[in-house]
Symmetry: C2
Subunit: 223 residues, 2 copies
DNA sequence: CAAAATTAAATTTGATCATATTATCTGATT
DNA sequence: AATCAGATAATATGATCAAATTTAATTTTG
């Protein structure tokens, strides 16, 4: 029965496999399917009320992006981070995100800064109220909106892949250290950007990354 | 008719969607399906003698990796490189590959160097005899083997994605400038690595990248 | 005799295909 | 130019088959 995941209302031409992909992506990215947890086709068919083909395709896509990994025999899981992984992610983020910020700084308009400040305010609210879901989503959205400004599709694709790797672990981090201990350099980043100071903005985002990675490391040590 | 792409001979447990993926990946990576060309499900079913579901899954995977792109309506193509793309690829390769080489240098064993020299010799033969197919494959294999040594799965995944972006254009480059004008820094890279000089090896690979990108740029200008 | 190991049946899940449905494109007609 | 079949190709379903995991039963062994 029920609203099978398709275009019932009208001719939204977005196909089911795309919807399933987006749904599953969010489940993973925001830790609703926890790292280490296995994902089954059948389970997703029921959970997402979708058909088999769209679910399969979504799983293939997310596997290709590293958000899911094959566990030898036919088992698929959300991967957990190893020390090695964290080290690689640290390197990659520090190499790519400052570049994106520098590019974004050259193109940013004042209304973009407005948007970003608005998102950052929501983020602060989420932190104050301890709303982990809202925090994770707004934090992702902040960075995503920022990087979109750089108009660099390949860099963007790669950064998305990195998010899919460490994003799932952020929920665990929040649970461990509490939202109130989450700090960021978003305001400094935005100030530097609205001054057109690409170097300072890049430095700010580097500091933001360092803090984030340190939180993950700290959380991993106490597990 | 006949040998449908599956495990007829014996219980090779590798599923059809995996085989189709590997086949299609090679077709794209080595320019046998040229950049700009459209890819249809039906066409691949016939060309690869496979079923529909495996073909769909392979296309999704390669789309996620950036080797194929959706063209709005239900059309899928092998993307062509824009100037912007080349610039991003240049940045990313220069950021990542020297790092991989430096890591590989720390772990490399003398028999690995042997293997790499062997591949490089085959590569030279391909250049001398003007065998573009062999050149493309050996060149890919050389880098792939090198980076495997670093034991850095995420960096490796990202570099694979970059290869899938510029690899398809290399055939066009070869056609334009001829294999004899293809130069590389492979010998210098290997010498530095076998000396354990990570810095020099990284520099060599950076020079290799610069040459490769310049060749692509040169080829693009004359198109 | 009980604990561990092995094997065998049962159940679950994945892989693939044939088929049905739906969207897009074509070009002929108005 | 706009509209409307017909053709083509993509999307999506459910059925079927095969593989793997789990559970139960059996045997082995200390």
């Amino acid at each position: 029965m029920g609203s099978r995941m398709k275009n019932e209302i009208s001719h939204l031409k977005v196909p089911a496999h795309e919807l399933v992909y987006q749904n599953l992506r969010e489940l993973i990215l925001f830790g609703e399917i926890a790292p280490g947890q296995t994902v089954t086709i059948k389970g997703l068919i029921e959970q997402l009320n979708a058909g088999m083909t769209p679910v399969r395709e979504a799983i293939r896509r997310l596997s290709a992006e590293g958000a899911l990994t094959f566990q030898g025999n036919r088992r698929v899981i959300v991967p957990t981070l190893s020390e090695q992984n964290v080290s690689e992610l640290n390197f990659l983020r520090r190499a790519l995100e400052p570049k994106l910020i520098a590019m974004a700084t050259k193109r940013v308009k004042s209304e973009d800064i407005e948007d970003l400040r608005r998102i950052d305010r929501e983020l602060d609210n989420a932190i104050k109220s301890g709303d982990i879901n809202a925090y994770l989503r707004q934090n992702y959205w902040f960075h995503k909106t920022l990087y979109k400004l750089a108009e660099a599709p390949i860099l963007d694709q790669v950064v998305d892949i990195l998010w899919l790797r460490y994003g799932p672990s952020l929920r665990v981090v929040c649970g461990r250290i509490g939202t109130l201990n989450l700090t960021d350099q978003h305001k400094e980043t935005l100030n530097a950007m609205s001054d057109g100071d690409a170097q300072r903005a890049a430095d700010a985002i580097r500091a933001d990354i360092t803090q984030g990675i340190d939180q993950i490391k700290y959380s991993m040590r106490n597990s």
